[in-house]
Symmetry: C2
Subunit: 267 residues, 2 copies
Amino acid sequence: MNSAAAPAPGPEPGAAAEELPGGRARPKTGKSEQTRTLILDTAMRLFQERGYDKTTMRAIAKEAGVSVGNAYYYFESKEFLIQGFYDLMTHAHALDATARMEGVRDFAGRLQISLESWLDCAAEYHEFAAQFFRTAADPDSSLSPFSNESHPARTTAVALFRDVLTGSDLAPKLDTELAELLPDLLWLHLMVVVLYWVFDRTPDTARTREFVRRSTPFAARVISLSRYRAFRPLVRDATGLIQEFILPTIGKSPLPSAEYGAGRRRS
Amino acid sequence: MNSAAAPAPGPEPGAAAEELPGGRARPKTGKSEQTRTLILDTAMRLFQERGYDKTTMRAIAKEAGVSVGNAYYYFESKEFLIQGFYDLMTHAHALDATARMEGVRDFAGRLQISLESWLDCAAEYHEFAAQFFRTAADPDSSLSPFSNESHPARTTAVALFRDVLTGSDLAPKLDTELAELLPDLLWLHLMVVVLYWVFDRTPDTARTREFVRRSTPFAARVISLSRYRAFRPLVRDATGLIQEFILPTIGKSPLPSAEYGAGRRRS
DNA sequence: CAGCTCTTTTGAACACGTTCAAAGAACGAA
DNA sequence: TTCGTTCTTTGAACGTGTTCAAAAGAGCTG
């Protein structure tokens, strides 16, 4: 949280290491990256097996066959071990959803598939994710889904929802302004579903699945109706609100403000 | 989080002590309640002065002139010290907002006043609340705003928003179903504002205030328009979604489900 | 090989939230 | 008073996430 600008021992060793979009990162030493991966994989496995809180850093280190200090050499804190998981799942989700949407052109259908895909990808981590969520809710944490720093994961997710839209029969009917907004809004829809999911204690998160089945046609309807005359002024107001207050907050267009500048806080 | 069913030393000493709706709790010993209050007040003061994380239980105990163990005798954990704060602020907000709405009959105006009142009441706790928020996001925590256990605070808040509505010129124009839903929805509106506020780093949370100024007329407009023919089917769908999926989640009408029963998890 | 620099690894030590057996206080009954 | 019971208080001790000075490698130049 604090001490973000701590004097890193090595020159930013692993955590921020480029995982080039191409796929393979340059191996540099190879050994280093190997240790980092070993620690991360071990941590993920233990998180899944025992839950986040019950997995101690000592246990991770022991299981991975390294020292505690070494884990901290590669990961700034226990929280940072989650970031890897987050990125991983976002990628898996994007791939899975894209594959499952293949051939479906109905917008509501595509949206529903992509959300259900997320639920399936995340299913095995439900217990663990609930605890992770608490961490993500910290505004000071770089894990926050709204944090502007890092998180290419959000970009990946938004790109998926752009595909949900552009691959649908609804896309050509919308005006460009709304079409520009929608991917981010659909991502917000996912965030709401995630919130619902985190609190959902029904077996197999059945209730969240029901919620998805019901809310996607509704969303599709709202978007579809927004084209009609009667709704224009309302839509105009809504888009204004979103563009000015929501998107800047989630790291879109850093907002032309001069007045709300730089509010650097904390020492 | 775990060990919720720990063998309490005393018979549920302070944390869950009846604060009878009447007002004054029965003093029993008097001394006990006094110690409890002392610890709570000290904690609140230190939280406000140094922030939640930087205030240690040892510091609270020392400052209050008791032992660490004693603090744990009255409060199950550090988190539980916050509950008192939460309840307190909710009450203060309800009183302040009600007073400030006096004489105003315009719905958007009343809504705006009540939200701005919250921002004012919470202002001095902004830093502290951000950290508190992380805790509240834990579904397993009783501090979660959605938790069904305890939290008369939510009831108080919803009652305030019911007053926002019924005291306005809009109230008589709405059908009863919608009027029944609205207090909870307006409370959700507050939750969104709180979310925005927690992440807001502008000086004096100016951006959140702007957000409130813009979003309240919009909300009023949406509600107002919902009466017209063209919007009926949409409104019907929306209310259905809300009644079935949102309200039950926030502790309203425990949901007639048999199928999603009881999902007791964790040991 | 020696010497140097940079990266990687170690594990003891620190501060924290929390627990618990034991001690003390309060108070009524005998 | 003296005992017995219950409520209250204590502080050492445990397990945790995290830090840090120091050691060990790794790769280089001479």
